[in-house]
Symmetry: C2
């Protein structure tokens, strides 16, 4: 799915992980980098570097946290918001293409089994939100 999405999104100039960042920011504007990293299940440095590039590309904005001078608060730029609108159809298209001919029940079973496996491996309870993540 990463490959399929990237293929379609390349001309727009955004990768799947970057889309995930935009997607998280849309719902959690003002989040700190650490929080973003946790949601994406990556290390803070990975999120930080991604934000570096996306800031250069004008997709996100870092603002100083008024209460903690170590931290950054993350915000979408207008360009980032516009990008999301262009990517949304692609994301839906991709997951629909992948799930063609897969019954509702099979989809639920799949997510349930994968959650069990993730929990087995990480020790944390898994919280799969949707197909888009």
């Amino acid at each position: 799915m990463r490959r399929a999405f990237d293929e379609r999104a390349r001309e727009i100039g955004v990768t799947r992980p970057q889309w995930q960042v935009l997607s998280v920011l849309l719902r959690h504007e003002g989040i700190k980098q650490g929080g973003l990293a946790e949601i994406l299940e990556v290390e803070p440095i990975t999120a930080g570097r991604m934000i570096d590039r996306m800031q250069d590309a004008g997709l996100v904005e870092r603002r100083a946290d008024p209460a903690d001078r170590r931290a950054w608060r993350l915000f979408l730029t207008p360009r980032g918001r516009e990008m999301m609108e262009r990517l949304q159809p692609l994301a839906i298209e991709t997951s629909e293409a992948a799930l063609k001919g897969v019954s509702e029940k099979d989809q639920e079973d799949l997510l349930r089994t994968l959650d069990t496996m993730l929990e087995n491996l990480t020790g944390r309870p898994a919280t799969t939100a949707s197909w888009s993540e």
Copy 2:
């Protein structure tokens, strides 16, 4: 699973993709780089770079193809073979840990559904061999 395997394999000094290479070579010694790339579902350049590193580490060996001067034939070194023996238990351990509490039927359903999705996205018929891949 990548993360869980890497965590255990780190001290041995091999990554999960490298283990996959060793695993393919064990069953297909003398394969060309392109063939390896195809089995791993990775671009030839990715496989080539991996072989570079593994050759430096003394795990695999490149031998000239007698029939085609463009191509390399790949072989395990004794060190690579020994590495496989140390990694086999880790691989089994990891997939058993992941699948704890997942019924046979759920495992089959999972693989079947994922195969369908892979086929949907790639157009190629999917051929999942086992949990180890």
